[in-house]
Symmetry: C2
Subunit: 365 residues, 2 copies
């Protein structure tokens, strides 16, 4: 194995192609031709792999019921890494998916010592408001906090304990503890409970996750298969997206302000962060840059434009070519990103305030 994945720790995934091989993930590029109106990063390799996505395609094409299930970890500020998930939720909702969103307040409490009230506040202020502002229809979402789930869900999170062993959990999560075990089992129930008969019974479920969640998806699929006799669960499908590089090139983190731009950052602050921190693929001096050109593959501004902001393929190609040739300077490239980010944040701030009136709709289901 060349890849290390730890669902609770630092991510170190250097080669997504290798990941697909190591873990038996299908390449998402193969199903792309059958999909329309994709968010920009889904077209450009941001979603790189899947398990059983054919089940979802079939449900979409045959207009059958399917579920989009995801969780949010209410432990920090909403940033552009989270937008990748939000866009997928909204994409599947538009395609007719019944959406389930779990706020992982229990997990935040158990594994990060987060007070529940704080988790609730973060979930609403940082996640739910932004989801609506980005286009989610809250009135059609089954939203819940893990500590407020219905009886059937609560019980399922305990019943699944019968279907695994400590050795299996240890092999997936490494150094385990009772609270990590409870968190892991609760997450399994999050993913499987939309298939309980109280929620309409077995059906295809798509879980869009970051590459770091792969072991947890496999674990959940295995448990679903072991429960087949009793519950008839369809093993959940999943897509795997890349982790967008942080501004400085490392991991994007809610707890490291300079690693990302938060949706709560002012346009001015965002501009400053990009100028100051965005890792550049350019040369040390303008003269050198003109002569040798820049490297867009490691330039964070270019990567962000590619994955998040520049929807026009032609424009993106021009930027890439001009940067590589040295015609476009690093400062100029940053300026293109800054304009996109500032314009996004300004518009989003308005949408976010408008969203406040509709937040209660999350609880109507």
């Amino acid at each position: 194995m060349n890849t290390e994945i730890d669902p609770w720790g630092q991510v170190n995934v250097k080669n997504y192609g290798q990941l697909c091989k190591d873990f038996g993930i299908e390449k998402f590029s193969k199903v792309l031709p059958r999909m329309q109106n994709l968010p920009v990063y889904m077209r450009r390799g941001g979603v790189f792999g899947h398990k059983d996505f054919e089940l979802i395609l079939k449900a979409i094409e045959e207009r059958k019921k399917f579920v989009m299930m995801t969780g949010l970890m209410p432990s920090g500020s909403f940033h552009f890494g989270h937008k990748l998930v939000a866009d997928q939720i909204i994409y599947y909702q538009k395609l007719g998916a019944e959406c389930y969103i779990a706020a992982a307040d229990l997990e935040a409490h158990l594994t990060r010592d987060m007070p529940l009230e704080k988790a609730r506040e973060i979930a609403i202020e940082e996640y739910l408001l932004n989801y609506i502002a980005l286009g989610l229809k809250p009135e059609k979402v089954h939203f819940y906090f893990q500590t407020e789930g219905k009886k059937e869900y609560m019980n399922l999170s305990k019943f699944v304990s019968k279907k695994t062993t400590l050795n299996e959990i240890r092999s997936i999560y490494g150094d385990i503890s009772p609270s990590k075990i409870v968190s892991a089992l609760t997450q399994v129930a999050d993913i499987l409970h939309p298939q309980l008969k109280e929620y309409g019974g077995p059906k295809p479920v798509i879980v869009p996750v970051g590459a770091d969640q792969l072991p947890h998806i496999n674990f959940t699929r295995d448990i679903a298969a072991r429960m087949h006799g009793e519950y008839n669960f369809v093993p959940p499908s999943a897509t795997f997206h890349i982790l967008i590089p942080g501004l400085q090139g490392g991991k994007m983190s809610s707890s490291v302000p300079e690693s990302s731009i938060f949706f709560s950052d002012s346009p001015k602050a965002a501009e400053k962060k990009i100028r100051k921190y965005a890792f550049s693929g350019g040369q040390a001096t303008t003269e050198e840059h003109r002569r040798l050109g820049g490297n867009p593959d490691i330039d964070v501004s270019f990567q962000w434009l590619k994955i998040l902001f520049e929807e026009d393929d032609k424009k993106l190609r021009t930027i890439e070519e001009e940067y590589r040739s040295g015609k476009l300077l690093s400062g100029e490239l940053k300026q293109i990103l800054i304009e996109k980010v500032v314009s996004f944040l300004e518009r989003h701030e308005e949408e976010r305030e408008k969203a406040r009136d509709r937040i209660g709709l999350f609880w109507q289901n």
Copy 2:
């Protein structure tokens, strides 16, 4: 340690005095003088030890709120071993305790593969009806199935996972698994949840348990202490009762018909079981018995009379002396027990049928 205790396995407790020493249990005989109207076996060493029972005595004497908490394992037929617990529940209810009774359907499902519907049926038919027939007032009991507890209880069963380690759980329960961990944590929540603010806040709680549950009580008390900052829990008090010897002298077991008399046995069947199986402390022949006398300390019929049936101290002493001297034969001793058991079962059968009308009262709280 001379004593082995396994909450999930065979019990092997040879010496209750040693148990008190090994595990720091106070002798119940010391608090006896302050208590009145005790069930017969509480007067006669059937309850042999306690932890923090002073808190309960104080609550009783000062007419302050206290809770009696117990669980039932819905996995077999109700027998005289269970009556020991039932009598204590009723005793504390009469003393003014708020009674909480958990039916451990989750645990039966997780650790004994019991279908939930079956667990529910056994809980009602074998336990709840007998509790009422024995004198419990169901309308005053907080009764619940573990799979139907309220949100706060369900969450507590997960929150407690933060306050322990796998090593601690392993040291208490031996060979552990995810389902055993979930069962153990759920039991901790059973005992602690009556002190949540939603249930009126911290207060003394008495948990009457068999000697085999000692490690679980210690575990729960330790967790209560570790949660003190957040919840202000009073570490639960407990009393420990002996395990009544089975008819053949070993453990009484719901799954071994000849080990006990079930409340569902007909008086005729009960009589036959005692004659056929009750372990005797008498000699091999009448001649030898007259000459050497019997040993009431190992005679199960005598032990049952002492712990369960003969309330009159004087009569019991006469039986003991006459048996020891050889005047009373083993068959005659058995006959005394048979008459008591038959008369009890006949009366109880009537009470049990009358109880059926009141069973719904368990769910009114």
